[in-house]
């Protein structure tokens, strides 16, 4: 297996993270925000795996497993909420749904 330098892994990871972050901030549709969150989680996962392989430790992979289950649970809850929102408000636009303004 050819060694991939850690820097490359981290660059990929931060790129993915940035794409996810920008997605969360820019997209109005809640479904796409949820997907962008997944991208951010996976970006962190890539960083963990890369680091684990550099130090030859299993911790990184264990951490990734944790993130994966977490993401699955989160998506399950999130999608359920999305369906309720769609039924109730007939829209998924986060700006329309916002009630936080005092």
């Amino acid at each position: 297996m050819t060694d991939i330098p850690l820097v490359h892994v981290l660059i990929l990871s931060s790129l993915l993270f940035t794409i996810g972050f920008v997605g969360v901030v820019v997209r109005k549709n809640t479904l796409f925000m949820l997907m962008s969150l997944e991208v951010m989680l996976n970006a962190v996962g890539v960083a963990f795996i890369g680091a684990g392989s550099v130090w030859q430790e299993a911790d990184g992979q264990i951490m990734f497993m944790l993130i994966l289950t977490l993401a699955a649970a989160e998506v399950a809850v999130g999608l359920a909420l999305l369906i309720r929102m769609q039924r109730h408000y007939r829209t998924l636009d986060i700006d329309v749904l916002s009630k936080m303004k005092g």
């Binding site: 969360v24 901030v25 986060i94 700006d95 009630k99 936080m100 303004k101 005092g102």
Partner: protein, 622 residues
Amino acid sequence: MNLLASLPLYPLLSFLVLISFGKRLSWAVASWLSVGAMGLSALCSLVLFAQLSTSEVNVITSHLWQWFSIGSAKVNVSFYLDALSAVMILVVTGVGFLIHLFAAIYMKNDENFTRFMAYMNLFIVAMLVLVLADNLVLLYLGWEGVGLCSFLLIGFWYQEKSNVLAARKAFIVTRIGDTAMAIGLFLLFKSLSSLNIVEINQLAQTSDVFSLSLANNEPSDAYWAALLLLGGAVGKSAQLPLQTWLPDAMAGPTPVSALIHAATMVTAGVYLIARMNGVFIMAPEVMTYVAWLGVITLLLAGVAALAQTDIKRVLAYSTMSQIGYMMLALGAGAWSAGVFHLMTHAFFKALLFLTAGAVILALHHQQNLFKMGGLLKKLPFESALFFIGLSCLVALPGTSGFFSKEAIIASLWSSPTAGASLWWCAILGALLTSIYSCRLFFLAFLGDQRFPKDLVISEHVDTNYILRAALVFLALLSLFGGLFTVDLSTVLPVNNKSELSPDWLHIVAILTPFIGIAFSWFYFKRYRNKGITSLEESQSSWVVFCRNGLGFDVIYRFLLVKPYCFIAELNRRDLFDQLIMLSARYVGIWRDILSASQNGSLRWFAATFGLSMVGLILVVIL
């Protein structure tokens, strides 16, 4: 609790009761309380006076408690009674009692009667503290206390704007003098490191630091201290150049004018100078200033009194001019003559004011002399009393005013700090006094009736026997108060120089009032003759100029008031306020930024959160 300490206590208790219960007290209760308290005080001061004159010691003291201490100097709340303050407490409580008695009836129908009597009592407390204080700080407390009461009582009928303005003017003008006096106290404390009056008077003679100036041309501390104390006295006693408040102060009820602005408070300046004689003796130049100030005031006030149309304002100007005599006496080193004139003046001026008050009330608040006339027939009792008061004022031989004024004039000629020119001025002042007194008497009491024929003379003052008793008692004091001499030699220095003034001086001094009377008998013929039923006030510019107080008000308005208001207007948005508001602005900017970030949009929150995390991490890394 000894007698001396209880002297101001009775009016104080009465004041507290009156001010806390206010209108719930009936007229009878309130007047018994306030007048009774004054009566007790007057009795106390008589007893004290008897004790003082019979006992071997010349001083009665009463130490109450220590107020505060500065370094080693202690400032006590303690009272000090010697011959000088004994005269003062007799005048304050005695005349004060009679005026309270008068006021209780005079003000009976006023809806704020209890408030009035409460202020009058408070005034007596402050005045007693002033004259009994054994140190200058306590004296200053009383000094400010009487100023406050004067302010409250001038503006007693506060619904009228002019009364309020007069009260404000009196307060501000006297404050200027008080500031000078406060600085004088600091200077005395700095150079003598004591504030006790007796100690200061002794130290002033002995302390080299105080009396000698370092360089020959430089005035000593004594000079400045005396000058600053004089500033305070000038403000309180309505002397030049701070005299403008007194005529306006006549806006207050007449008993107030009698008590505060004739008999007691305005003479506080004279008392102060007499009390601090040790300091003034070390500054002969200032003594000369005092004399000249007194004489100029007495002449100017005499001229102004000639042109007044309001009966109370004539008396106000005459008060100024009589206090000018007292100042003149003090300046000439005739200390006891000045204090003697203070006492007799308190008697006859209180009498004049109270009688004027009775006349004003009888005529339903008519104060204009040109609308009186012929009162001799309508109000014979008041006329007789007024005549007695005026004869004391012009110093007809035999009256109390004669003794005191002659004592002053006789001391001038050979005095080192006065001299012949001041003597001539004093004679001229006496001449003016007799002329304006005659004019006043002719206008008000002689001639023909110039008020509406159908005006019913209000009788409730005229027929009240208590009022009459108070007035008669004052009249007796004015007539025979001159025989009642107090030996002040234990307190005040006496001129031991044999008085070698020529005999003709005395003759001129005694004849002067008669010359004035004879002159006015012919000059004011118009005023005393029958058959003139209406008189026009002279409108010539010279008379109007004199009537308006010789233009001092105008000068002050343009020199001081207008520029001050102009600067105040310029600085309307206070410069320092703007500086302080900068910090508020800074906070405000951040408030705006932070509140804009709380816009309720989830995506904004996410963005700020993320970006701030990046920022934080960058800070940590770098």
